[in-house]
């Protein structure tokens, strides 16, 4: 509380660049700065072996101060080393708010650092709010996203939060921004030689299996023809999800994968998101999706029964929506690999 000022954004580096998620958080930090009466400074933290090369990017996207911590021990990601650095920097700079991406790395070092600092962290926030008394509110989902809760951390500092990619907005890149740069290269201890990095592998995306997918795009008779079906498959791929079908779609031979038929005589699925397009909503199909987290349905027919079991209703031509979704996905969404 006393002496804690500023917003620190941990800028994660992957495949030779700062991830979009972190740049989005910088943008959000700047927005929070305007909302908080005392207008705290926005800093970015870069950790690694040679991070000077990323200063321009982070500066251009709005960091007012850039803190670098370089050490050859940090060349490859190791949770103990990275969290030790994050902790040290927070202890030195005492930011009131710390933001990290809800990436696999952020999910590891974030809570670990929160424990080291004996403070609170809200994970996978979907939104931040600032109340009239300057209270910083972190909105988090629970029960698969059906419930949203406001989290506050009134008595402990810093207030830490992680956010998934794509939820916040980057600021406009400005090459004229000038940030204050502070560099560190202290010794790091971590768990020392108790941990060894053996091997790092990179794999390409595999075809998504229906019952292991968090997102499924379901297609029905309303898709109309094989060409539009292909578009639907491409969309599912772009969204990183699996494809499901109804009996009529299978009978039309738009897809050959019988095991992707969802319904009474097919499989039952329960993904976080079920996006169905051109599905009428016969009970034989809907009983296979009723345990899904959120159901978004697109159908030309205002009275299609599918809407009775949907969370979101879109009365539009399926192909048009598929095209528009492809556009948004490629424009706005980020491919970190």
């Amino acid at each position: 509380m006393d002496g804690y000022r500023g917003i620190l954004v941990y800028c994660e580096i992957k495949s030779g660049k700062v991830i979009e998620n972190s740049l989005e958080l910088l943008g959000e930090a700047l927005r929070l700065k305007e909302k908080l009466k005392h207008r705290p400074e926005v800093s970015a933290l870069l950790i690694g072996e040679n991070v000077q090369q990323y200063i321009d990017t982070v500066q251009g996207y709005g960091a007012e101060k850039i803190i670098t911590f370089e050490n050859d021990k940090l060349k490859l990601y190791r949770p103990d080393y990275y969290s030790e650095v994050l902790t040290k920097i927070i202890q030195k700079y005492k930011p009131e708010i710390v933001l990290t991406g809800a990436t696999l790395q952020g999910e590891e070092i974030g809570p670990c650092t929160a424990k080291k600092l004996n403070t609170g962290m809200a994970a996978h926030c979907v939104e931040f709010k600032v109340l009239s008394d300057d209270t910083f509110v972190q909105v988090v989902p629970a029960f698969g996203g059906k419930v949203l809760g406001d989290i506050i951390c009134p008595n402990f500092r810093p207030q830490m939060a992680s956010v998934k990619a794509g939820l916040m907005k980057k600021a406009e890149y400005n090459k004229n921004n000038k940030a204050v740069i502070e560099n560190y290269c202290d010794e790091i201890v971590g768990f020392g030689d108790k941990i060894e990095i053996m091997e790092i592998t990179e794999t390409s995306r595999e075809r998504k299996i229906l019952n292991k997918s968090d997102l499924i795009v379901g297609g029905g008779f309303g898709i109309g023809n094989k060409n539009v079906w292909r578009k639907l498959e491409t969309l599912a791929n772009a969204l990183g999800g699996a494809v499901g079908c109804t009996r009529p779609a299978l009978d039309e031979k738009w897809t050959e994968f019988e095991e992707t038929m969802i319904g009474t005589s097919g499989v039952a699925v329960s993904p976080k998101i079920y996006l169905d397009i051109g599905v009428s909503g016969a009970t034989q199909h809907t009983c296979g999706i009723k345990d899904s987290g959120i159901i978004i349905s697109v159908n030309k027919d205002e009275n299609a029964p599918i809407f009775e079991v949907s969370d979101y209703k879109v009365v539009e031509d399926g192909e048009k929506i598929i095209d528009a979704l492809m556009l948004v996905t490629f424009q706005k969404c980020t491919f970190e690999d």
Binding site: P111, A114, A123, F156, I200, I295, I296, L327
Partner: protein, 278 residues
């Protein structure tokens, strides 16, 4: 960890394994969940609880290590008294002993406090070589307890683990990254948060069910664990819950309207808010 000589295999390490599990509301009954707008509490008592899915993967990982290397599996959980039935099921899967930390004073605890309580229970009951947890729970999904527990115990810890192999007194853990994996070799004791990719959890068989009731199951109250009163429950939790939105779980068929590109953007927004990385 004890070292013993086996006539057949030579040097053998038997492992002392701890697994932490959390009972969560059965997602099939999510539409029965009511959140009291005043106390912010979920009516958990009325909903059937099941073992959090990833925790089953954790138990299975522990059993596989025990089957290969020998040892003992102890289960820990911080939950209300009725979690006893969930713990019996884990004992039926093949765990050896269970401890339930249950006390009204623990209500409202956030992840920092939960990991503190689990750490105290673990430290009180023995020296463990490996501690395994499910990466995250179906209901809260913060994925924070494993890392924070590792910190309280001051041992190396990893999350998003998709495989575990024991090599004498070290474990090789493969963690999943956005575009592949990293293999770490870590000296024990260590802690791992595992994901579904790691295995297919077994269903307890008849003999397992029969043996479960004779396996020791102890309930720890707050006083048994020598907890710092100020550090537990709602009071001790740095994060507090404020307003809760959409407590009504029924599907509302909310219309998304506008120009085609606006609709598409809104759909993407919903997808992202559900936590799907795009």
């Amino acid at each position: 960890m004890r070292v013993s000589y086996s006539k057949i295999g030579g040097l053998r390490m038997t492992l002392n394994i701890a697994v932490c599990i959390k009972p969560v509301p059965d997602s099939r009954y999510y539409n029965k969940i009511i959140i009291d707008p005043k106390t912010k509490c979920v009516n958990r008592d009325e909903i059937e609880t099941v073992i959090n899915a990833m925790d089953k993967n954790a138990v299975e990982a522990a059993i596989k290590l025990k089957e290969k290397n020998g040892g003992k599996i102890t289960i820990f959980s911080m939950a209300p008294d009725n979690a006893v039935k969930n713990l019996r099921k884990v004992l039926a899967m093949g765990a050896d002993e269970a401890y339930l930390c249950s006390d009204k004073a623990l209500g409202g605890s956030d992840t920092l406090v939960t990991s503190y309580v689990l750490a105290k229970a673990i430290q009180k009951t023995g020296n463990y070589d490996v501690i395994i947890l499910g990466n995250q729970s179906e209901d809260g999904g913060t994925a924070q307890v494993p890392s924070q527990l590792g910190e309280w115990l001051n041992i190396p810890h990893f999350v998003n683990v998709k495989s575990l192999e024991l090599e004498v007194n070290k474990i090789v853990a493969e963690t999943k990254t956005e575009n592949g994996s990293i293999k770490f070799k870590v000296r024990l004791p260590a802690l791992f948060g595992v994901i579904k990719d790691i295995n297919e959890p077994r269903i307890p068989n008849v003999m397992g069910v029969l043996k479960a009731k004779n396996k020791p199951l102890t309930i720890f109250r707050a006083t048994d664990l020598d907890l710092d009163e100020g550090k537990i429950g709602l009071k001790g939790s740095p994060t507090q819950v404020g307003e809760i939105f959409s407590p009504d779980m029924k599907r509302k068929s909310q219309k998304i309207e506008g120009a085609i590109d606006e609709i598409a953007e809104k759909i993407i927004e919903v997808i992202k808010r559900a936590g799907i990385g795009l």
